[in-house]
Amino acid sequence: MLDPLLSLQGLTKVFETPRGAVQAVRDVSFDIPRRAIVGLVGESGSGKTTLGRSVLRLTEPTSGQTFFDGVDLNQLDAAEMRAMRRRMQIIFQDPVASLNPRMRVGEVIAEGLRAHGVGNVRSRRDTVADLLTEVGLEPDHMARFPHEFSGGQRQRIGIARALALEPEFIVADESVSALDVSIQAQVLNLLLDIRDRRDLTMLFIAHDLSVVEYLCEQIVVMYLGRVVEVGPSREVYLHPAHPYTRALLSAIPHPDPERHTDRQILVGDIPSPLSPPSGCVFRTRCPHAIPACAEGFHAPTVVSPDHLSFCKRQKELA
C-alpha cells in the first residue's frame, strides 16, 4: 500500500484495574491510505473504541507506534501533539451530548477555531455559516441550542465541528449507530460527500458490517482486542476468510424474507478481556477450533493481496 496517511504498528493498550490487567487492544497493525475510509468493526468488548481513542492519543497507548504522515505520534511531547491535533479530529456517537448544553451551536462548532486562535469573531462566524451549509443545515441554526435538534441534525453539527479546523484525518466512532435508518442513509451519504470534497482520510468505527461495507474501502475486523481479518471491504463482505467474520456476517438479519441462509449461530458470549483465551482469542467460540489454536497467536495468512486473515487453519478451511 503506497504512502499511507496513518500506519499503526503493534499498537497495544492495557488498562490496569483492581481486578487485573485488561488487554483492550493487543498488537494491532494496519495502514490507512490517504483519502480512504477504513472501517473498524467489532462487537462490544472488541476494543474498537479504545483503538480509535489510542490512535489520537485521547487514551495513551501502552506500546506500539502510530505513524501519522511519517511522524510517530507516540513520541511527540504535549506541545507537539497539540499542534498535530489540528490535523485530526473525532466524531462521537452523540457528539453534542458531551458538550455544555448552554453553548449555542455556533460556539460548539467554533470552539476548536477559538482554541487554536484561528481568525477573529467575524471570520469564525463566516466559517461556521459555511460549515453549517456544507453539512446540510442552515446558517441561522448557529444561534440555537443543541437540544433543539434531532439525532441526525446533531450528528451533522458534530461533523461540522470536526471539520472546522480542516483536519486531514477523522475518527468517527459509531457516528450513525443511534440513528433511524432513513436518517442514517442521509448521514452516510454526507460523509461520502465530505470525503470527496475535502480529500479526507477516515477511520470509521461501527458494529454494523453492512454500513461499513457501504461506506468503507477497507474493513478491519476486531475481536477481543485483536485484529482477526483485514481486507478490501467488498471482498471481506462477500468472501469472509476468518471464522469470526463469517459468523458475524451470517448473524446479520437481512431485509429479505426470501433469503434462506444456513445461519451459523455462535455459542456463548465474548470472553472477559481480563482473562482472554490463550492463542487465538476466538477459539473458545470457534466451530473449527483444534488444540493447536490454543498455542500462540500466529502470523496472518495472506488470502489475496491486501486481504489478511489471522487464522491458523486458513488454508485448510478455505
Binding site: E43, S44, S150, G151, G152, Q153, D180, V181, S182, I183, Q184, A185, Q186, L188, N189, L192, H207, D208, L209, S210, V211, E213, Y214, L215, R234, Y237, L238, A247, L248, S250, A251, I252, P253, H254, P255, D256, P257, E258, R259, R263, I265, L266, D269, I270
Partner: protein
C-alpha cells in the same frame, strides 16, 4: 388474517395531555394478530409503535390515555375483552398471566435486589397456587427452556452477574413462566450484539413453535422483521401506513414511506459507487402534524391531493396502504 385473531386493534387513538394541549400520539391504528402468529410493528423513532404496545398492556404513562377505538383480546377462557376499557384490577389478572411483555433493556424489568430464581418464582406466586417446591421446579424448567447453561446454579444469581444475552434470556423466562397467549416484545434485541441477537431470535422462534404463543414484535429493524414476522404493520408518525404479509411487503412495498425505508438500508449487490437513497427531512413532531398524509412533506411523490386525510385502502390482495396516489404509483412501478 386467518382464523379468529387473538388480538384485534381497531381505530386506536392515544392522546397525551401536556400543560398546553392534548397531543395525539397514535391515531386510527388497526391490525389483527392471529393465534400462534407473529406480527411486527415496525417504525422509526416517534412512529407510535411503543405507545401502541403500552396501550395494549394498559401501561400508558399517566398523561396518556386511549381516547378512541378498541383492543379486543381473546382470553384463554374463550371470552373476548376490550383491553382499552378494562378496569385496572381485571387488567392485572391478564397482564403477566395471559399477556406478557419483554423490553429492550432487561434491567428495566428485572429487580437488581432479587435473585433470578426469586423474581421468576414471584410471577408464579401471583398467578398460580403452586407450592414453593413446585414453583422452584417450574422456574428451573423455564430456565432450561430458555437455554441458560447451569440453570440450577443461575437460580441464585443476581441480574448484574449475568451478561446482556443471559439477562435477555432471564427476561424471556420471566415473561413466559405463566405461559401467556400473547407476548409483546418491544425491541428485545436492539441493544444486543449481532451474534447474540441471532441467538435470541432463534430462541424466540423455537419457543413460539413449542409454546404456541402469538407475538407482537416491535422493532425499527427491517432485517429482524424479515426473519421473524408473518405479517407487518409499518407505522409512521402515529399511523399505520402499510399492512401486509411479510413477503409481499418486501417484494412490493406499496407506500412511499415503506419504499423509502427499504431503499435506505445498506446491503450488498450495489454497483460500485452507487449511493443509498435516503428519505429527506425528518419526522414532524406530534404538535405540527400536516393536515393530510403525515408523510407528504418528505414524500417524493407528494402533490396537492395529499393534503386531504387518507384511509388505509387495499393496494393488492391482503396488502393495505394509506396513500391517495396508490393507483398512480402502481402504474409507474
Amino acid at each position: 388474517m386467518t382464523a379468529s385473531p387473538i388480538l384485534e386493534v381497531n381505530d386506536l387513538q392515544v392522546e397525551f395531555a401536556t400543560r398546553r394541549q392534548s397531543l395525539v400520539a397514535v391515531r386510527d391504528v388497526s391490525f389483527a394478530l392471529g393465534a400462534g402468529k407473529t406480527l411486527a410493528l415496525v417504525g422509526e423513532s416517534g412512529s407510535g409503535k411503543s405507545v401502541t404496545s403500552l396501550a395494549i398492556m394498559g401501561l400508558l404513562p399517566t398523561a396518556g390515555r386511549v381516547t378512541r377505538g378498541t383492543i379486543a383480546f381473546q382470553r384463554g377462557s374463550g371470552e373476548t375483552v376490550d383491553l382499552a376499557t378494562l378496569s385496572q384490577p381485571a387488567m392485572r389478572h391478564i397482564r403477566g398471566a395471559e399477556i406478557a411483555m419483554i423490553f429492550q433493556e432487561p434491567m428495566s424489568s428485572l429487580n437488581p435486589l432479587f435473585t433470578v430464581g426469586d423474581q421468576i418464582g414471584e410471577m408464579l406466586m401471583l398467578h398460580s397456587n403452586l407450592s414453593s417446591v413446585a414453583r422452584r421446579a417450574k422456574v428451573l424448567e423455564m430456565l432450561d427452556l430458555v437455554e441458560i447453561p447451569a440453570a440450577a446454579s443461575r437460580m441464585s444469581a443476581y441480574p448484574h452477574e449475568l451478561s446482556g444475552g443471559m439477562r435477555q434470556r432471564v427476561m424471556i423466562a420471566l415473561a413466559l413462566i405463566c405461559r401467556p397467549l400473547l407476548l409483546i416484545a418491544d425491541e428485545p434485541t436492539t441493544a444486543l450484539d449481532v451474534t447474540i441477537q441471532a441467538q435470541i431470535l432463534e430462541l424466540m422462534r423455537r419457543l413460539q413453535r413449542e409454546l404456541g404463543m402469538s407475538i407482537l414484535f416491535i422493532t425499527h429493524d427491517l432485517g429482524v422483521v424479515a426473519e421473524i414476522a408473518d405479517e407487518v404493520a409499518v407505522m409512521y408518525a402515529g399511523e399505520v401506513v402499510e399492512r401486509a404479509p411479510t413477503r409481499p411487503l418486501y417484494a412490493h412495498p406499496r407506500h412511499p414511506y415503506t419504499q423509502g425505508l427499504i431503499a435506505s438500508i445498506p446491503r450488498p449487490g450495489r454497483a460500485p459507487g452507487e449511493r443509498l437513497v435516503p428519505i429527506h427531512g425528518t419526522v414532524p413532531p406530534p404538535s405540527a402534524m400536516p393536515p393530510g398524509c403525515a408523510f407528504a412533506p418528505r414524500c417524493p411523490h407528494a402533490g396537492p391531493e395529499c393534503e386531504a386525510p387518507v384511509a388505509l385502502t387495499e393496494a393488492a390482495p391482503g396488502q393495505l396502504a394509506r396513500c391517495v396516489k396508490l393507483r398512480e404509483l402502481a402504474a409507474h412501478a
